[in-house]
Symmetry: C2
Subunit: 410 residues, 2 copies
């Protein structure tokens, strides 16, 4: 049910004709209230697409009534005409839904530098508006796909009393996405597309999350920033940062329940983690899903820096593709960072086999004991320099990745 699991939201996804493939390419998500509070985070790329430039302004007052999204064109670096198309699409949504253009966020994904056909987009928006439905979440999730092979959706129930760390007591996607019943419960649901970190792949990550909890914009913003920091921000499939990434969180308040900040943060984090895992498993051309866990770091920032350096080593990623437990390439990547560590104290394990002990000064297990033939690969780097930890999720470097990204635009 994704973005329509929460009460107060309607959505639709339609074929406008922006994609040559003829698949659906325009999605609309409308918050029918009674509240319209919202928060959003965007790519940190300094070259931003027109919809990002627009949506950054709309979120300033913490209010959104709708998000309109299109695949089939990034609407980025195509001149003033492109920004006007973004503006026009927000105006049209406002006109159709009886709101204000500045309360409509816009997201686009596709090729950079191409014009986005305004008449086609506008016709798609009208069609999507006509099909808005409280069951429209799945259709919306499909309409934002580009190189994705599956639509990504997640739902969690909030309000089930006190709970442990994020996610532990939550239902995950796959569980029925029951809409929150007003006065009884609240729900967080979301959809995502793309393959990368929050500042990720040019495939672009777009995420819309909705809740029927009552929450002001500041509470939503705190929940969203905390959630993305440990989920989408820790996904780094190919080190490339998009011009279009956007994550929007909207609250309708339709459940009549106002959860505590930590409750809301936990539920949003669970949805983000679930969607991030789905993006990870569907990364372009990947044959292995690689989790790089750093422990014993002097700080969490150090752990993230080291994990990201490994995740961005093409040599390491190519070795994993070849089922080769080449831990020397892990170590060489660690050595490029500024993190606190002493080389001769580092232990490296691959899929549970400690192949490098104390930076090679003590004998590790033979690399031949490591089995990398499965899809899941776990690399553990013990820095032995402190007590902080972090995990980055990445992919291997494969022929399919090269093929997909050498043939994408032509």
């Amino acid at each position: 049910m994704s973005v329509t699991a929460a009460a107060g939201f309607r959505a639709a996804g339609v074929v406008a004709g922006l994609k040559p493939s003829g698949k659906s390419d325009v999605a609309l998500v409308v918050n029918e209230g009674p509240q319209h509070s919202a928060a959003a985070v965007f790519t940190s790329n300094r070259c931003k697409a027109n919809p990002v430039l627009w949506s950054e302004r709309t979120i300033v007052d913490g209010t959104l009534t709708a998000v309109v999204l299109n695949s089939g064109g990034a609407n980025c670096y195509n001149g003033p005409e492109g920004f006007q198309t973004t503006h026009a699409s927000a105006e049209l949504v406002a006109e159709l839904t009886g709101g204000q253009a500045f309360d409509v966020a816009v997201c686009s994904t596709g090729l950079i530098g191409q014009p986005l056909d305004r008449p086609i987009l506008e016709a798609g928006i009208r069609a999507a508006h006509a099909q808005l439905s409280p069951d429209g979440g799945p259709a919306a999730a499909e309409a934002i796909m580009t190189t994705d092979t599956v639509a990504k959706q997640a739902v969690v129930q909030g309000g089930a009393g006190s709970r442990g760390p994020a996610g532990e007591a939550e239902e995950r996607s796959g569980a029925p996405g029951v809409a929150g019943e007003p006065g009884k419960n609240w729900v967080v649901g979301g959809m995502a597309k793309g393959a990368g970190m929050l500042a990720p792949a040019l495939a672009t990550m777009l995420v819309v999350i909705t809740t029927d909890a009552a929450a002001d914009a500041a509470t939503l913003d705190a929940a969203l920033r905390a959630a993305t920091k440990t989920t989408f921000d820790r996904l780094d499939t190919d080190g490339c940062m998009s011009t279009n990434d956007t994550v929007v969180l909207m609250a309708s308040g339709a459940s009549g329940i106002t959860p505590a900040q930590d409750e809301l943060t936990a539920a949003v984090t669970t949805v983000c983690a679930d969607l991030a895992e789905q993006l990870w498993h569907d990364a372009e051309g990947a044959h292995h899903d690689i989790a790089i866990e750093i422990t014993g770091a002097a700080s969490e920032d150090d752990a993230v820096e080291v994990a990201r350096a490994v995740a961005r080593s093409n040599l390491f990623k190519a070795a994993v593709f070849g089922n080769d437990p080449n831990w020397g390439r892990v170590l060489a990547a660690v050595g490029t960072t500024q993190a606190a560590f002493e080389p001769e104290k580092i232990d490296i394990s691959m899929n549970g086999v400690k192949v490098c002990r104390a930076g090679g000064t003590r004998f590790g297990e033979p690399s031949t004991s490591v089995d990398l033939t499965g899809r899941d690969v776990h690399v553990l780097v013990e820095l032995n320099a402190g007590s902080s930890a972090a995990t980055i999720l990445t992919s291997d470097l494969t022929h399919d990745y090269v093929h997909e990204n050498s043939a994408y635009s032509t």
Copy 2:
């Protein structure tokens, strides 16, 4: 003639048996003086191989009598035994040549984390010593190859009077490498192996440069650092930094000529630039040699940062492999940097066609006008933010790169 083009040097390359392929794998370069001044630069990777840890100490006094090099094993992260092997090899060279172990630099290249067979290496060193010859440069250059498809050598004549910018008046490799005649002329020659920047690919860059000019260690050091900063440091084939990279410069003084600092720097820079170009053209699996030129930067550091960001974008590199002039991926990489620029002022040209004007706000030439089918690709990014410039040399991301690096160690 590479390292034996300069008078006062003898070299050899032999088959020791470290490489399963049975190709030559141990090289020795000996400086017979009368001077023995030297300089060296090393990888900035914090995880350093044993020969780097050793050679960093030997260069402190600015004196080297010999460099011994092996392929077939990086001698990195294999414990105390590995460092002892490096030490033992320097001791053996010193014993054979009548010098001090601390005046012998050691370089290794190959797999990390594997023991390096000391008896085989020592037998190779003895054989190489027995074959030392003033014509041994080419054999030495062959013995340090790993994934290289051709040996890299370069020679320039110094002392031809005043000259323009580095290289313009110099002879390049391919010209006969005439040994300098004492009292008349001086020569700089060199050999290299690998595929990457100075802090480059795990394939490891090893470079030995010799000259029969007379120069003290400080002059050599200044020349070498100036030369590498604009040559090997600007080569970035796959963004991966080696644990073993070493560049050594040795002077014999056998020509009897003491060139001025700028003359020596120019000659050394020419040799380094020539070798860097050869490394670029032989990068692992590359189908395109891509020069990324940044102009109009606020500073040279900005230009290098921007060029390197583009050079490390897998999406851009895969697009070039597919002959796809996807300038959006260039722009997205530029946007990840901290360099001074305004997005709407950037122009991008590919192979001479300006495909992006003023950040897409004015119409560029159609991408279909760009021909990327040839080996050489030139990307020009005009930041229009200042007057500094820099060029980074890189490669495309190809199936052959993935294949070579997924199958290297197993």
